[in-house]
Symmetry: C2
Subunit: 232 residues, 2 copies
């Protein structure tokens, strides 16, 4: 008699994520996993980020994660870029994008013709931080109205990310948020985090964020070229 073994689901998920990463690297695509609470402004941030990158001649695609609906994809449609809507509703309404969804989405994207893929994760400051999708970098968006205590209350998210986009800076005069304490909390949770105060609405803070993103991408590209040269 054979006793069935329950395999570690996370192990399977990570194996698929590594396959995704290999594919990204072989195609020379830089992949960003963008996460936040619901309503922090990920879609509007992506809209402006992609516009800026397009104006530099860079080609972007989006994997749009949502439990249900195509609202965010429709908001981005005017950018005229490849977008895949990844809804988790048929998979039990998962609270995060899984590596299998990214894997499936890759079949629908023109990979040979892309510099960036942005994965807009489901609005959730908890669970998405736990899942590796094969991305090169995780970014968290924190909007000012959420308050200065969020890094301390949701530390895993802020530890997993390399950068934090502090969004809705245009609302600062109308809020009681304590910016020095917010900065202290961010550093306390992750001293390596790069913080960009931005407003997706007004565009303030975007040049620094775009330059930083581009420098991260070109570093990955340089490593890939070096590896290629060593292999030949």
């Amino acid at each position: 008699m054979k006793i069935p073994i329950i395999r570690d689901v996370l192990e399977e998920s990570d194996a698929l994520a590594r396959q995704n990463l290999e594919r990204f690297n072989s195609e020379g695509i830089y992949v960003v996993n963008m996460m936040s609470s619901p309503g922090a402004g990920k879609t509007t941030l992506l809209e402006r980020t992609i516009s800026e990158l397009k104006s530099k001649g860079l080609k972007c695609a989006v994997i749009e994660g949502d439990i249900t609906s195509t609202i965010d994809s429709e908001k981005l449609a005017h950018l005229n870029i490849p977008i895949v809507q990844a809804n988790t509703q048929p998979f039990g309404g998962d609270c995060h994008v899984g590596s299998h969804l990214v894997h499936a989405a890759l079949k629908m994207l023109p990979l040979h013709d892309l510099n960036y893929i942005f994965i807009e994760n489901i609005g959730n400051l908890v669970c998405p931080a736990e899942f590796y999708l094969g991305e090169h970098i995780k970014i968290v968006v924190l909007s000012l109205p959420e308050g200065e205590d969020k890094p301390v209350k949701y530390p895993l998210m802020f530890r997993e990310c390399k950068a934090c986009l502090l969004n809705k800076m245009d609302l600062l005069p109308h809020l009681d948020v304590d910016i020095p304490l917010l900065n202290k909390n961010l550093v306390h949770v992750n001293g390596e985090l790069t913080v960009f105060p931005v407003s997706a609405k007004t565009g303030s803070g975007f040049p620094a964020w775009i330059d930083w993103l581009e420098s991260r991408r070109s570093n990955v590209a340089k490593v890939a070229i070096r590896e290629l040269e060593q292999a030949n």
Copy 2:
């Protein structure tokens, strides 16, 4: 040879929730499960709600759900009411409050001397909606800066709740949020939802919310008294 059976975890969770409810009913306590995205303002709302209820002579306690930290409990400490901090970090950093945590918290509260228990769930618009804790009512807080599309993107949360507190109304002049569309989206997802536009900061909208809550509580109390009379 005995083959172990994996029991339905949800079944066990629901059984514990029903035990919680029986205890609440036998003590005549009305229990509210308050949920929202991170930073929607649950703690500040609770602060004002409990102050108003206290001024009517009602006795409240809070079960404060967080992954980690005691920030929210400390914010409420000046109310001088019983508070139990329920951190999920020792339980694997769960993204929602579980019925076992509520069960454990009950042992630390003066149940014979309470009219209300408020459970402040973890900031998460997805997972907490899936778990019944034994509460009488689920309430969702949606803050205006999160935008008008949230009910459509996170429908389960808005379907499970009886009321929605539309918080941060004081920010309305500074936001682009489309209120008629927001109302349309709320009705589309849950036609039975009672919506209270409020500001935890200024107190606007609170009288209607407090009256409604009190009428819900007294209805449950009447049913309990009727059942008691029938039993004798």
